[in-house]
Amino acid sequence: MEACRLEREQDLGPVAILAVAGYINNEGGEAIAAAGRQILAEGKKAILLDLAQTRIINSIGISLLLELLEACLAAGVVLAFCNLHPSVAKTFQVMGLAQYARIFGSRGEALEALSGL
């Protein structure tokens, strides 16, 4: 399985963008959570995780994403996801993630909605 890779891309105004590829397991989840904490410290208003290149997130990765979500909620920062593979979308549906995080079909849709924050 392809190891998780994470790249912080150019911010768009108040939105920080993290492109994630590969298997989100404990290591991948920790890397995302650490990058997210860094962004929170910068005072951004939204963190967008683009999961176009991610096919699978295991339950350890999920728990680490929830730690980031908890921190975002506490800071009043929007955590958003886009480009979900159907199996990732189903995983998020099982969790009920859409109650607390924003989910968009594409990066363009996400940035259009979030850049005005």
Partner: protein
Amino acid sequence: MITASRFHRSCELSPGESGEAQALVLLEELRRAFGLPGEALADFRLAVVEACLNALEHGAPPVQVMVTGQRQGSELRVVVEVVDHGPGFEPETVPRPELPAKLASPRKRGWGLEIMRRLADRVTVSSHPGQTRVKLVRVLRG
């Protein structure tokens, strides 16, 4: 294309980083053997990963995985069994995770069994001290 009518492979998972990935190699072999499209078992893969993670984390070695596929008419039945030799558990006592409660709790784990139940067509757990067997079934039609 000539495809199989029956498939059976097994392996023993190595503990350590991504031991669960070994089970997915077998599932991928099955997919190819039956000539299934690339995403045919996408959801089911995560159910298999979670069964393996539970066995590796909470069970004891050896952790064995058996992957079986059988085509009957237009139906393909895929069965993955994960067996460990740990202390066992009572699946009915495992609470169903709720996101609001998880967000409020320092313990954010505990999604594995729920994911298995929701992403496989059928999940059977038989567990007693010394052996836990999780059986996941996916039926593909057409």
